[in-house]
Amino acid sequence: MGRTLAEKVWTDHVVRAGENGAPDLIYIDLHLVHEVTSPQAFEGLRLAGRPVRRPDLTIATEDHNTPTIDIDKPIADLTSRTQIETLRRNAEEFGIRLHSLGDAEQGIVHVVGPQLGLTQPGMTVVCGDSHTSTHGAFGALAMGIGTSEVEHVLATQTLSLKPFKTMAITVNGELPEGSTAKDIILAIIAKIGTGGGQGYVLEYRGEAIEKLSMEARMTICNMSIEAGARAGMVAPDQTTFDYVQDRPHAPQGADWDAAVEYWKTLRTDDDAVFDAEVVLEASDIEPFVTWGTNPGQGLPLSASVPDPAKIADENERIAAENALAYMDLEPGTPLREISVDTVFLGSCTNSRIEDLRGAAAVLKGRTKAPNIRMMVVPGSARVRLQAEAEGIDQVFKDFGAEWRFAGCSMCLGMNPDQLSEGERCASTSNRNFEGRQGKGGRTHLVSPLVAAATAVRGTLSSPADLD
């Protein structure tokens, strides 16, 4: 019987097969590290007198706690500063490559890896961060892990993992103008639910996925965890190879040829069987926004806030009632009429150069709605530099948006970039949980294009609403 993409990558990394239902020992090709989930892992090594087995397969950046203004000044928050300083000491002591605040390669760990060409097809990639699924866009098996697993990978470059099930998510046809990868993934999560992917590795496939750029595929794989899946993948193709080629850590010369030859085998066989299958038609996918407090509570922008009374399932009804109370929304209100206070363009979901270009194209020559705060946070220092080279920063500045330095920023508000109580935000990030962006803050997840159009009109909008 044929094998799926995920099964092929898994098989190629088995160091030792588990017997009698025990987990397999899986080799890890790339370990990404940041300041929040690594301190106790390094301390554990120190206490046990163990070294990092493969510093040359490990790379660290500072992202969760970093300020996005005044980055040359000391970090005010003591906890944030301690975590950053601890990472710097640990990187020094254990010989780990670290890109610190102010460095041209600093940025969100999931933006930095692909940008350096360190994320490649057929690899196993882990990080102490649930959005590690991002790297699956390259046909890598990439997943988030906990702190004790971070220590385990540092010490052994392996992980003990139980086998997973596979789910095909096929998106047929062509995406309408104005709809993007973010709308596809929000529509998928609304369809299968926030637990729909639990226990599965998702493989996104079909014409609409094949036509997406690498950055768009990263947006989709990034939010696999929001559907409950630990990993999401897209089979590598010419788009993938073209993206990787000539990046700093891409294979060169004969290595490149050998790599591409291998990468071309990383496709699900025609006779392979998935444990589950989901099919969507791209032509049905409109710009999507969330109205509630989990990423599955989303609807097309043309819809209205749902009426919980009409939801049959009791758990979902109660969840919807609670969400509407928290979000301060009335059933039946057209989503397009919801006014926002803040627009956040950033996060590991949507902070790459294409995201910034797309939003800037919408904003160019237009005027910001009164009283709207718009914050643009590039995913990495490199993205920021590139945007500045292209003059995109000027578009944002002319529009009245704040042009910030790179980091996770308002996606989770570990740094000072937070919503205040009751503040409503159209956010290109990945989680609309209660309090995620700041205590009492209200989050609507949107694409970069919807974020930009919303900043112009002041209410949730798509570019099509602007003319």
């Binding site: 020992l25 690899m123 004790s148 700093p248 294979p251």
Partner: protein, 199 residues
Amino acid sequence: MEKITTHTGVGVPLRRSNVDTDQIIPAVYLKRVTRTGFEDALFARWRKQDDFVLNHEAYRNGSVLVAGPDFGTGSSREHAVWALNDYGFRAVLSPRFADIFRGNAGKGGLVAGEVEQSDIELIWKILENQPGTEVTVDLVERTVTCDTLTVPFQIDDYTRWRLLEGLDDIGLTLQHEEDITEFESRRPDFKPRTLPART
């Protein structure tokens, strides 16, 4: 991780069921960057109450915690085991443990032994009538001895073996280090390395 065959120390009667991990260590202590030094965090809220068992002189240096059913429920935080270890506990006895806590305990070198509720009651009485009484947890025989009472406890074979051998997850994996080295020798040359840095 230290090997454990038997442990003898002062028993602490904790007459509570459903001791969740947020009671064992409140969330506020999770911001720390260290792996040790959580002794002050253990049962932090309860220790503010004068009559809490650990505030009694006779129990203060206890190392065997004897608790009610469903110990370690709630959030999966590994810090709960670290805090118990740091305070000086080597074993927790309870009629029933939450799954994640039991797993974390085994990984962290803490014995989590399941003892019948009726036996727990007998141990509590001895420890309360004679504060400071020592309890012996014999991992080889899977028995608990307290004064003249000896009762069995349950622990799965795999976890018992790991504790007896002093193997943590990493130690277990490193038993197969030759396999890892062999795998590394077969990895294709085109796989990327982060060092030396190219930018």
